[in-house]
């Protein structure tokens, strides 16, 4: 029962988060059929409109070097209605980020969900429809 609820809750959360990353015109640059998980450290958070940007340092497994990824999120307006704050992600935070990668293959993607030390950021908005 608990597992079912958790699965349902996380599915709902994912669906709503995906919607929060409302496909702005620019989101056509991302491959929404693909998902990728990045494990790394936050370098910088740009808590701005029209979209937040999260710069993440990720270790390239092949070369061992740290590579910077640019992750585009939704608007702070939408995210703050889902429990995010400007300070939810900070430089230095260890994160696991799930993204839709850039179609052109460069180091970027659109933010689907993120957790810091295993704790997800944000919660579903009030008001179902």
């Amino acid at each position: 029962m608990k597992t079912q609820q958790a699965t349902l809750a996380s599915a709902v959360l994912s669906a709503l988060l995906a919607q929060a990353v409302w496909a702005h015109h620019s989101f056509a640059t991302f491959d929404t059929a693909q998902q990728k998980t990045l494990v790394g450290t936050i370098k910088e958070v740009q808590w701005t409109n029209p979209h937040i940007w999260v710069q993440v340092l990720v270790k390239n497994d092949a070369t061992g070097e740290m590579v910077e990824w640019s992750i585009e999120g939704g608007s702070p307006n939408g995210l703050s209605r889902q429990g995010w704050r400007r300070s939810s992600l900070k430089a230095g935070d260890p994160v696991e980020i799930v993204i839709h990668p850039l179609k052109n293959g460069s180091n970027g993607g659109s933010l689907m969900k993120v957790s810091v030390n295993g704790k997800p950021i944000g919660k579903p908005p009030a008001g179902k429809g």
């Binding site: 702070p76 703050s80 704050r85 400007r86 300070s87």
Partner: protein, 261 residues
């Protein structure tokens, strides 16, 4: 103390407010106005129980009289910058003298912050409602809402225009604001402020109903050695309809003209 003039003023205000609350429809307007008058009469009958004669209506377009690029205190002097702020201010002055206004986010279409937005040389519109006072500016269509009867948030994520709450003190509209992001300026010349800025605005309609007297109190212990006051005057612009102003478009045109793209 109630007097005839006060009662008449109350009746006019109540009637105006009652009819305003019900926007003009097509045919059913006459019964609505009658209903509003009945309501006004009933409220007037209860008038002795009411304090004061009701706030004035500031709805309309206003523009500043005597815009200045250099904000002074009411006493006419440079605001009391602390040492670090003074250094920063002088850097701004020097940069501006060189033609470099990159310190000023307004040149990149960012909001001017407050109170500077109220001191720009562009008209603004006040939409006065019962729970919210809206300021809508010609400058890049920027809106500001002051929520009547509320308290400022305790720990907000700071914004360019902060958070504003308002109340009426008799005929004076008092607005308190805080939660400002750093980086905006208090005037065109480059007076700085910090995220500790607490602004109090007082607006009073002149007796002729066509001027608006404003007083600004700036409290920012990280930037100024003590709080200080400034003032401004606005005049009504009846018939002026604020045109669409899109800063990003103006900026793009300017960049194209300068040969960059």
């Amino acid at each position: 103390m109630r007097n005839t003039g006060g009662l008449l003023r109350t009746l006019r205000t109540l009637r105006a407010r009652a009819t305003r609350a019900l926007p003009a429809p097509g045919a059913p307007e006459a019964p609505r106005t009658l209903g509003a008058l009945v309501l006004a009469a009933l409220l007037l009958a209860a008038a002795p129980a009411m304090a004061g004669s009701g706030p004035p209506d500031l709805t309309g377009v206003w523009s500043i009289v005597g815009h200045t690029s250099t904000l002074k205190t009411i006493e006419g002097s440079l605001p009391p910058l602390n040492a670090a702020a003074r250094t920063l201010y002088e850097q701004h002055l020097a940069a501006a003298a060189r033609g470099d206004r990159s310190f000023d986010g307004v040149t990149r279409c960012l909001p001017p912050g407050l109170p500077r937005l109220m001191l720009m040389n562009e008209p603004f519109e006040i939409l006065q409602r019962q729970r919210v006072i809206y300021f809508v500016h010609q400058l890049n269509r920027l809106p500001r809402r002051a929520y009547l009867g509320e308290q400022l948030p305790e720990d907000p994520d700071p914004l360019y225009l902060g958070f504003s709450v308002a109340h009426w003190q008799g005929d004076v509209l008092v607005i308190e604001s805080s939660g400002f992001r750093e980086g905006t300026l208090l005037d065109d010349a480059g007076l700085p402020h910090s995220d500790a800025l607490h602004l109090t605005e007082r607006y009073q309609l002149g007796k002729d109903g066509r001027t608006l007297h404003a007083r600004f109190k700036i409290e920012d212990p990280k930037t100024y050695t003590h709080s200080w006051n400034a003032q401004a005057e606005y005049v009504r612009r009846p018939g002026y309809e604020i045109p669409e102003e899109v800063c990003a478009d103006q900026l793009a045109s300017k960049l194209r003209q300068n040969g960059k793209d």
